[in-house]
C-alpha cells in the first residue's frame, strides 16, 4: 500500500461567469492510507471546492485528483462525501437516510439497515430511527448526516466541516468519538475545518491553505500519541503548535 489514498496535484480551478472567480491555484495534497488529514483555511478559500473535485462532482480546469490511484474527474462515488449542509432527504425517515449511501452502493437493504441500527446508539440517535428529519434538532441532523457518510462502503471519507453546526460541548464529545471510530475502522479521512484546535486534536497531518486563489501555505505533521484526550489542548506542546498553525494561516493571508 505505497499508493496514496488521496492525491491532489497541481489543481487549478476558476468558476466562470461575468466576474470569473479563481478559486484554486495549484493545490497539492497527499494522504497516506489510513491517515487522518485536516485541511484548514480561511472561509471561502476553496476547501469545499477541493472536496467537490475529490467527490467527482466538479471537473477542475487543470491538475490531478486521485482516490486510491483512480482519477475522480467525471467519476463520482470513489469516496464517501459529506457536504457542509446535512442534506437529509425529507421523505426518508432517519434510518432511511442513514442507509442511503450504502443502498446506492449496492449493499443489500437488510444488511445496511442492521449495520445502521447498530450505530444509532453511538451517534446519540437511539430512539429516533423512525423519526422524520424535520423532527430532529440541528445537531442530530448533523450526526445523522455523518452516520450516513460512515455507512457508505468506501475507504476514503471526505468530511466538510462535519461539526461546524454543533455546540462546543457536543463538539468535544464528537472529537473523542470520531477518534475512536476512526481508529477502529482504518479509513482515510480528509477533514475540512476552519478550527485550528480541531485540526490538531484529530489529525496526523494538517494542511493550511491560503485565501483565494488558494494553494498550500504549510503542511504540519501532528504526532501526539493517541488517544488524544480533550485536556490535550492545554498542554504546552499543543499550545505552541496551535500558535505555529495560526501563524501559517496569517502568513498565507498576507503573503
Amino acid at each position: 500500500m505505497s499508493e496514496a489514498a488521496i492525491a491532489i496535484r497541481g489543481l487549478r480551478h476558476t468558476f466562470p461567469g461575468d466576474r470569473p472567480v479563481e478559486v484554486l491555484d495549484g493545490v497539492d495534497l497527499e494522504a497516506a492510507p489510513g491517515a487522518f488529514v485536516s485541511l484548514v483555511g480561511p472561509s471561502g478559500c476553496g476547501k469545499s471546492t477541493l472536496l467537490q473535485v475529490l467527490a467527482g462532482l466538479l471537473a477542475p480546469d487543470a491538475g490531478e485528483s486521485l482516490i486510491e490511484g483512480r482519477s475522480t474527474i467525471g467519476e463520482p462515488g470513489l469516496a464517501a462525501y459529506m457536504p457542509q449542509k446535512d442534506l437529509l432527504l425529507p421523505w426518508r425517515k432517519a434510518i432511511g437516510n442513514a442507509v442511503l449511501g450504502a443502498e446506492i452502493a449496492g449493499e443489500p437493504k437488510e444488511e445496511a439497515r442492521r449495520h445502521a441500527l447498530d450505530l444509532f446508539e453511538r451517534f446519540g440517535l437511539a430512539g429516533f430511527e423512525e423519526s422524520w428529519p424535520s423532527q430532529l434538532s440541528g445537531g442530530m441532523r448533523q450526526r445523522l448526516a455523518l452516520l450516513r457518510t460512515f455507512l457508505i462502503p468506501r475507504h476514503v471519507l471526505l468530511l466538510d466541516e462535519p461539526f461546524g453546526a454543533l455546540d462546543a460541548i457536543t463538539r468535544r464529545e464528537m472529537h473523542q468519538w470520531l477518534q475512536e471510530v476512526w481508529a477502529s475502522d482504518a479509513r482515510t479521512v480528509l477533514f475540512v475545518t476552519h478550527d485550528v484546535e480541531e485540526a490538531l486534536i484529530l489529525s496526523d497531518v494538517a494542511y493550511v491553505m491560503t485565501p483565494r486563489p488558494a494553494h498550500m501555505a504549510a503542511r504540519f505533521e501532528v504526532d501526539y500519541p493517541r488517544p488524544r484526550l480533550p485536556s490535550i489542548v492545554t498542554e504546552p506542546g499543543f499550545v505552541a503548535d496551535k500558535a505555529r498553525l495560526l501563524a501559517a494561516l496569517d502568513e498565507g493571508g498576507t503573503g
Binding site: 467537490q52 467527482g56 449542509k85 442511503l100 452502493a105
Partner: protein, 280 residues
C-alpha cells in the same frame, strides 16, 4: 383566561382534538359554508314560492328533491358510467402526465419542441374535441376517457415539471457523489421532490374530471349523467337537470377529497409534525 392556564393544559386539548378526530374539527371548519348553503337553498325555495316561477323555468328545491325520489332509481347506472369515465380518465391523465413531465424535464430538446404544442393543445375546448373523438373512437368508454384525460393531463404536466425543477440541486449532487445513476437520482431525489407538485396538479384535474366526462356524454353516449341531462332537457324536466347538477357536484367533491387523502398518504413526511392542512 387562556393565557393563565398552566402549561400542561396547553397540550391536553390538543391531544383531545386529535382523539376526537379529524372529522370533528373538519365539521367545525365547514360549518359556516354549510350554513350559507342551507340559507341559499331556503332563499331559493322562498323566491320560487313568492314569484310563482314555472317549474320548467326554475323548479323549487323541494321539487328537485321530489324528482330525486321519483327518478332516483335511474341514477346509479348513470353515476357508475360517469364515475368510471372520470376515474379512469384521471388515472390515464396522471400516468401520461407524469411520463411526459419526466420526458420534458430530462431532455431539454423535448421541452423546447413539445411544451409549446402542449400549451397550444389546451386552447382547443373539450366540447369541440368530443364530437371528433366520437367519430374516431366511437361512442363507448374510450372516447369519454380520452376527453377526461386530455382535460386533466395539462395541469398535471405543468405542476409536475415545476415540482421536478424544484428539487434541491445539492441533494442531487449528494446522491451523485454516492455513485447514483440518472435513474437513481430520479428515484431518490427528483421524483419525491415532485410529489407535492404532482398532487397539486392532480387535484385540479380531479376537479374537472367529472365535468369532462359529462361534456363527452352530451355529445353521444348510452349511459351517464350527461345523457341523463340531455334526456331531461328533451322532456322539459328541469328539476331532473338540477338533480344531475347536484350529483355531479357531489361526485366532483368526492373525487377531489379522494385525491387529497391520496396526497396525504403519499407524502407522510409533510404531515409528520401534525401541521394539519399546511403541508399541501
Amino acid at each position: 383566561m387562556a393565557t393563565e392556564a398552566p402549561l400542561t393544559q396547553g397540550t391536553l386539548p390538543r391531544e383531545g382534538g386529535r382523539l376526537l378526530g379529524r372529522w370533528g374539527s373538519a365539521a367545525l371548519e365547514y360549518t359556516p359554508a354549510l350554513v350559507l348553503l342551507v340559507a341559499l337553498v331556503g332563499l331559493w325555495e322562498l323566491l320560487v314560492e313568492l314569484l310563482n316561477t314555472r317549474p320548467y323555468i326554475l323548479p323549487a328545491p323541494s321539487a328537485i328533491w321530489n324528482a330525486l325520489l321519483d327518478k332516483g332509481h335511474l341514477l346509479p347506472n348513470h353515476i357508475q358510467a360517469t364515475a368510471t369515465e372520470a376515474v379512469l380518465g384521471l388515472v390515464a391523465a396522471a400516468v401520461g402526465g407524469v411520463l411526459l413531465a419526466v420526458l420534458l424535464s430530462s431532455i431539454p430538446l423535448a421541452r423546447r419542441v413539445l411544451y409549446p404544442i402542449i400549451v397550444t393543445s389546451q386552447t382547443v375546448p373539450a366540447i369541440v374535441l368530443a364530437p371528433l373523438l366520437m367519430v374516431w373512437v366511437g361512442i363507448g368508454l374510450e372516447s369519454k376517457l380520452i376527453v377526461v384525460a386530455l382535460v386533466g393531463f395539462f395541469p398535471i404536466v405543468v405542476s409536475t415539471v415545476d415540482g421536478l425543477a424544484s428539487a434541491d440541486r445539492d441533494m442531487v449532487a449528494l446522491v451523485r457523489s454516492m455513485g447514483a445513476s440518472r435513474i437513481e437520482e430520479l428515484r431518490h431525489v427528483l421524483i419525491p421532490s415532485a410529489i407535492p407538485g404532482f398532487f397539486a396538479g392532480l387535484k385540479i384535474a380531479a376537479a374537472y374530471a367529472v365535468i369532462g366526462a359529462v361534456i363527452a356524454e352530451w355529445v353521444a353516449a348510452k349511459e351517464g349523467l350527461g345523457i341523463f341531462i340531455i334526456r331531461s332537457q328533451a322532456s322539459f324536466r328541469i328539476d331532473q337537470i338540477f338533480v344531475a347538477i347536484a350529483v355531479i357536484a357531489l361526485l366532483s367533491i368526492a373525487l377531489f377529497v379522494a385525491v387529497h387523502l391520496l396526497a396525504r398518504a403519499a407524502s407522510p413526511w409533510k404531515y409528520a409534525n401534525d401541521q394539519g392542512e399546511n403541508g399541501s
